[in-house]
């Protein structure tokens, strides 16, 4: 993805950054932002807006920005997106707004750097008055303080609804705090955004696992409506022989230790994290890139990403993949581990793998990898991180027994409204779609908030 006309964003040098957890992408200066904003053609039909899952008025905020009306730009941006500083950093823009930008569709052209501009405006941190309407005397419980839950909470609070958020962990943000690392999304940005939600009068109850420490039924009777935004947090393992050997971790464990529990600052922080010399990270999504780059920063000599399909099918955000490669991480495509081998202390010492080739497209539209015969080989590794996806949390079935699930074990909810089989229960985000993106979770939150308001008005 060589960028020709797009204004480059300054980045920490790869050698410097693999020794620390500082943010890699440094953001635009005012000059750079104005230069990039000037490239926008202000298209009448606004193709970029159609590419944005929450329909941000992109030409609008860019226009205000280039006319140096920063506050107006902020108001436009925040009108559609409660977490612009987050989205500017983590959205897969190349698949969304920027994929539709007219400038990127002409041969050899680059789309306007919409994400970087969004980040620039958000990072100005211009305070805007959040107009909170007078109380409507309705109570809503939001379960989970990830992007979906936070969005529902903010949108309802604005309308005068009294909102209580129940969160399992000791802090708000969901994947934004326990999954995505500091070098990509500084935690201070998340806490600023959460502070914004708190200031709207939303109450947070931390350390509460609904379905375990608080019965779901209790919320049903105590609140006028309930929103479930509990994400897809349970790690999947490939389940190949040797999975329980030592030094084999789920990406969730590895990243939770590092991000939520700050193990990268061990022993100042008490929670430890393992790091070895030759680390294999299985998968090729955002989670894989994050785990691999984190392992590198913790001091692993060699980090290998092992992926069963080819570079083209890789689901990770493009920029993160490039960053990973710049940081010296090695990619092994069309490779599938089939067994872990351990020593007498049960520490993993190698991985038996096979080579794959791509066959016919499968249900996801991507070509299905099939095993190449007699291609078995062994890769020496002393630590493995599996990042092959997450499933709905294990407490879901037991904790929310009457909520209808779909065939993937996620909550069955209407796409437009988030409505479930209960009239007063709504759901959205990863718990409905399976692991997806921050902006899609927010979009679902927005739609649910609207539907909840309609429900409350009629109830």
């Amino acid at each position: 993805m060589p960028e020709k006309n797009k204004t480059k964003m300054r980045e920490l040098d790869p050698i410097e950054r693999i020794g620390c957890f500082e943010e890699v992408a440094l953001g635009y200066s005012r000059e750079e932002a104005l230069k990039e904003a000037a490239r926008c053609l202000q298209c009448k039909n606004q193709p970029c807006v159609d590419g944005c899952p929450v329909g941000i008025n992109i030409p609008g905020f860019i226009k205000a920005l280039r006319e140096e009306r920063y506050k107006d730009s902020t108001v436009i941006l925040k009108g559609d997106n409660n977490l612009p500083a987050v989205c500017g950093r983590v959205c897969p823009q190349e698949k969304q707004c920027e994929a539709r930008c007219i400038l990127g569709r002409v041969p050899g052209g680059d789309a306007v750097a919409i994400g970087r501009l969004e980040r620039y405006v958000a990072d100005l941190e211009i305070p805007i008055e959040s107009v909170v309407k007078p109380p409507v005397h309705k109570k809503v419980a939001v379960i989970g303080a990830g992007p979906a839950g936070l969005t529902v909470a903010a949108d309802l609070a604005k309308e005068g609804v009294s909102v209580t958020v129940f969160e399992a962990f000791h802090t708000a943000g969901g994947v934004l705090v326990y999954g995505i690392p500091e070098f990509r999304l500084p935690k201070e940005i998340v806490s600023n955004e959460v502070q914004f939600v708190k200031e709207m009068g939303v109450e947070f109850k931390f350390n509460e696992i609904v379905g375990r420490t608080v019965p779901f039924e209790e919320l049903l009777s105590d609140y006028d409506a309930v929103f479930i935004g509990i994400g897809a947090g349970a790690p999947r393992f490939m389940g190949i022989p040797g999975t329980n050997l030592n030094n084999i971790f789920s990406a969730s464990e590895f990243l939770t230790r590092v991000n939520l529990m700050k193990a990268y600052l061990f022993p100042k922080y008490d929670t430890p994290v393992k790091i070895k010399d030759r680390v294999a990270v299985i998968g090729a999504g955002n989670v894989t890139m994050d785990a691999a780059r984190t392992a590198k920063r913790l001091g692993a000599k060699d980090v290998h990403i092992v992926y069963r399909r080819s570079e083209e099918e890789m689901p990770a955000r493009l920029e993160e993949y490039h960053h990973a490669m710049e940081e010296g991480i090695k990619l092994h495509c069309l490779t599938l581990p089939v067994e872990y081998l351990g020593d007498s202390n049960n520490n993993v010492i190698a991985m038996k793998c096979v080579k794959m080739i791509l066959g016919e497209p499968d249900s996801s539209g991507r070509r299905r990898p099939v095993q190449l015969e007699n291609s078995e080989f062994t890769m020496e590794v002393d630590m493995v991180i599996e990042a092959i996806g997450q499933t709905p949390n294990a407490v879901l079935k037991a904790g929310f027994p009457s909520v209808q699930l779909n065939k993937w074990g996620s909550i069955q909810a209407d796409e437009e409204t988030g409505r479930t089989n209960f009239p007063n229960v709504f759901a959205g985000g990863d718990i409905v779609t399976g692991a997806a993106t921050v902006i899609e979770a927010m979009g679902a939150g927005k739609r649910s908030a609207k539907a909840i308001l309609e429900y409350l008005a009629g109830a």
Partner: protein, 277 residues
């Protein structure tokens, strides 16, 4: 924030601590645990709920590393940043007939609510409490009202039978028919009790205490192979049929962070000026 109500040293390096908590007493059942985070820098520490009273919860802690030493040093009036619980599935308590409850070391504490519930459900409860030596044997008097018979074992013979809990279990099994066994203690102890239970064809519940992080099924750190399936102890357990647990693998997993734990403890001792170890 949760206040520390009282702390008491009940054996060397072992503390009995009551904490304030608004509603855990309304929900906690025998066999469940909580996770506590002392302060901003602290680990999430899983601890079994020993008992509750209105607005408070009791834990018994054996100091073995940095986190537990830090925790054992709290004083009444101090605050704990976070407590989440009850977690895990409650023990399956019913009227079974004769049951044998076996506790080893600090594992005696988590056994207490189960023994009491089994007695209150109308079982004949035979207890075996084991420790390395007499001074380390905790909660004996508290157990007495809920046991029909009590065996004590110590490794050095300073009280009761000399040897480990399986010696006493053998005696019990010679004397009477036992329907169920509950065993909580060091993994090695649970392993040998489970083996004996398997030989005698008795279901043996054990409470697994692998390394945990979140305690809510979101990381897989606590995974163990039970009956050829991978289970997460925090959400599928913590109690499992000990006869089906793949013990040797689990015991090795328990030592995964040994080097880091040692470093944390050494630094902590230095920080405390050499005291505490």
């Amino acid at each position: 924030m949760y206040k520390v109500i009282s702390t008491e040293a009940i054996a060397p390096d072992t503390f009995d601590i009551w904490l304030e908590h608004p509603d855990i007493d309304k929900r906690a059942k025998p066999g469940q645990f909580l996770i506590l985070r002392l302060d901003e820098f602290s680990e999430r520490i899983p601890l079994t709920i020993v008992s509750t009273a209105e607005g408070r919860v009791r834990v018994i802690i054996k100091a073995i590393g940095k986190s537990t030493y830090k925790l054992c040093a709290v004083k009444p009036g101090d605050t704990i940043a976070d407590i989440v619980g009850p977690l895990g599935n409650p023990s399956e308590i019913d009227r079974f007939g004769t049951v044998c409850v076996i506790g080893g070391g600090v594992g005696i504490a988590p056994l207490f609510p189960i023994a009491r519930a089994l007695k209150e459900a109308g079982n004949r409860v035979v207890g075996i409490l084991g420790a390395a030596k007499k001074e380390l044997l905790i909660m004996k008097d508290e157990f007495l009202p809920y046991l029909d018979e009590l065996y004590i074992t110590t490794d050095d013979g300073s009280e009761g039978i000399k040897g480990n809990v399986t010696v006493a279990l053998q005696e019990v099994l010679k004397k009477e028919k036992v329907e169920f066994i509950w065993a909580i203690g060091p993994m090695v102890m649970m392993k040998f009790v489970s083996l004996m239970a398997a030989e005698n064809d008795i279901l043996c519940w054990v409470s697994l205490n692998p390394i945990m992080v979140d305690g809510t099924g979101m990381c897989g750190a606590c995974r163990a192979e039970v009956g050829e399936e991978v289970k997460f102890a925090c959400v599928h357990g913590p109690e499992f049929d000990g006869r089906k647990v793949k013990w040797d693998e689990l015991i090795k997993r328990q030592y995964q962070y040994r080097e880091e734990e040692k470093q944390a403890m050494e630094d902590y001792v230095k920080e405390m000026g050499g005291k505490n170890a």
